[in-house]
């Protein structure tokens, strides 16, 4: 029953999010001890620390603080940032738009490329090209973004001078200039995602090629190209879709490093500066939003997967 599955999955996401909010609250408002003192440093007077704690509300009992914070979060109010003196939601929203541009470019490059690579590796299983794609993909996946990014900057920005080494285009520049600036950071993200998606695609294609329905199709005398397109790919790409959607979480983690390296004003850079400045309201709000987006994308991935897969869609109805 699709309806019950959706409802159950949605409920689980909500429970997880509630737990996450408690963890974030503990991390940003209980663990630091005296929040005002942490923000202002050891040399501030006690009066100014008390004043800041009163303004932030961190002098109240933890339970009151939490209910107040989460109550605000539900209505879209995450408080004000200490360093920027602006609403957290506004700052996070603007940063997310920038990050979305970068992520979109990375996805446009990586999804077709890695699916093609995975199919190619599966069809040439065990040969040189397969080894190159799987071992090369694994290696590219595990190398940290700031390492591949440094090498890319060194080659394409410093030595060849083809592409800019920073991601932020000058104010008011057109679409193509913006994309040109985003190309190197997007390639960084692509390198990490390629191996992972290609690997899942390869496994899916191999499984589908060994399945009975493929054998039947071949024995029926259908041309290889038709068998691959109609039988193999349609079944093999199912897990790939789920994997692509579930990479959101990784992507945001990777964005922290990539955005810092290329000085890009996205969500990663924002969280980084919040952490550096001990801006706890901004950090808490930003992490909560990131977690909610991750849960949302996992939910969508699960729903897409079950909707595409009749074995799950129809399970329980019999």
């Amino acid at each position: 029953m699709m309806g019950r599955f959706v409802l159950r999955r949605f409920g689980l996401a909500l429970i997880t999010l509630a737990l996450l909010s408690v963890l974030v609250f503990i991390g940003t408002q209980l663990l630091p001890g005296d929040v005002g003192r942490r923000v202002l440093g050891p040399f501030a007077t006690q009066e100014s620390v008390d004043a800041l704690n009163a303004r932030l509300g961190t002098d109240r009992p933890p339970l009151v603080q939490y209910t107040d914070w989460i109550g605000g979060a539900v209505t879209g109010d995450l408080g004000d940032s200490i360093t920027f003196a602006r609403p957290v939601t506004e700052l996070v929203g603007r940063a997310l738009i920038n990050s979305a541009k970068l992520a979109a470019l990375a996805f446009v490059i990586v999804v077709p490329l890695s699916i093609w690579g995975g199919i190619l590796a599966a069809l040439r299983r065990g040969r040189l090209i397969d080894r190159l794609i799987t071992v090369g993909g694994l290696s590219a996946t595990v190398i940290p973004e700031f390492v591949s990014g440094i090498v890319l900057i060194l080659i394409f920005a410093v030595t060849l001078g083809w592409l800019p080494g920073t991601a932020s285009a000058p104010r008011g520049s057109g679409f193509f200039t913006q994309m040109r600036h985003l190309l190197l950071p997007a390639i960084c993200l692509t390198l990490v995602l390629f191996g992972y998606i290609a690997r899942i695609t390869r496994a899916g294609v191999i499984e589908a090629m060994e399945a009975d329905y493929t054998r039947t199709a071949i024995l029926k005398g259908l041309p290889r190209r038709v068998v691959i397109r109609r039988e193999v790919l349609r079944n093999a790409l199912l897990p790939t879709i789920a994997v692509v959607a579930s990479q959101m979480g990784y992507l945001i983690g990777g964005l922290v490093v990539v955005e810092v390296l290329f000085s890009y004003q996205g969500i990663g850079q924002l969280l980084y500066s919040a952490a550096q400045n001990a801006d706890f309201p901004l950090l808490a709000g930003g992490v909560l939003v990131v977690g909610a987006m991750f849960q949302g994308s996992m939910l969508l991935a699960d729903l897409a997967y079950s909707w595409l897969n009749p074995r799950i869609r129809l399970a329980g109805s019999g």
Partner: protein, 293 residues
């Protein structure tokens, strides 16, 4: 999606597991394993004996600021950094920081995760459900961000990095171990032990643990790769490392501003060191998973 029950029949089909010697044979013939293992061993040797083999003092005392940012030469094969310290010495000595921190974090996570997974898998029920929810909550935020958050709250220090990564790994490893325990619990030897009225903890740690050891070994090597990745990302971002200690991530962060001036050696060489270590560790982890599963 309820799993169909197989408990009705009087006997069950057991798939013979590969024996220890067979697994070693698979591993021994794997080229990727040997390439990876060789590189890892080289870095471990430098991590242990680094101080004795580096041509210069990696800490660069006394500071040689007159020779700062020198290009690679006969005296300094990989050049010098912004404080005139020998880059080769610092790259070699830098292996110690990342390897000890990542290893300590992974060991911590594996011990806690294994204990938790054994208990939860054996107890099942509500405990199991709670663990899954906590795990999901932890996994909703990328490890680098969790690390940043915790180190901001606790103040940056190396011990903090170890504890944070270890704590996040705990539920992840617990979940894997739990799944393995669940399938072991159905087997006859566990039923027999329970009929003998053996102590539950005894059954868990003496009877079941050795049989899920493979799963734990695979999980450990995979997690070690993630730990190295995270430790380096955090030190690149400036969290958790004292600035004087030679550290690859920090070296890159401190010198990347010089790149546009054509000074590439204090950045590229630590970057290559990182690439060689993480790729090697993951080649080993990958071949171990393939041999053991």
């Amino acid at each position: 999606m309820a799993q169909p029950s197989h408990s009705a029949g009087g006997f069950r089909l057991t798939i013979p597991q590969a024996t220890r010697s067979q697994r070693w044979q698979v591993l021994r013939r794997s080229a990727t394993f040997w390439v990876g293992a060789t590189i890892v061993v080289i870095w471990v040797v430098f991590a242990i004996f680094g101080d004795f083999v580096t041509p210069f003092d990696p800490l660069g005392t006394p500071a040689d600021v007159l020779n700062r940012l020198e290009a690679p030469s006969g005296e300094h094969p990989l050049g010098t950094d912004e404080l005139g310290r020998d880059v080769l010495s610092r790259v070699l000595a830098g292996a110690r920081q990342v390897l000890t921190v990542a290893l300590a974090a992974t060991v911590l996570g594996t011990i806690f995760g294994t204990a938790l997974g054994l208990v939860v898998g054996y107890a099942g029920g509500i405990v199991d459900e709670i663990l899954s929810r906590i795990l999901d909550a932890f996994l909703s935020i990328p490890l680098v961000i969790t690390g940043m958050l915790a180190l901001t709250a606790l103040g940056p220090n190396t011990l903090g990095v170890i504890v944070v990564i270890g704590l996040v790994f705990t539920p992840i490893i617990a979940k894997t171990v739990r799944a393995a325990v669940l399938s072991e619990r159905q087997l006859d030897y566990v039923t027999a032990a329970q009929l003998r009225r053996d102590n539950g903890l005894y059954v868990l740690f003496v009877e079941i643990l050795p049989n899920v050891a493979n799963v734990i070994i695979v999980e450990f090597t995979v997690r070690l790769g993630y730990a190295i990745f995270t430790v380096l990302a955090l030190s690149f971002l400036g969290f958790g490392i004292e600035p004087s200690i030679p550290d690859w991530g920090l070296m890159i962060a401190q010198h990347r501003g010089y790149l546009t001036g054509g000074i590439w050696w204090p950045v590229l060489f630590p970057a290559l060191a990182i690439a060689s270590l993480v790729v090697a560790v993951n080649l080993v982890a990958d071949s171990i998973s393939q041999a053991f599963e």
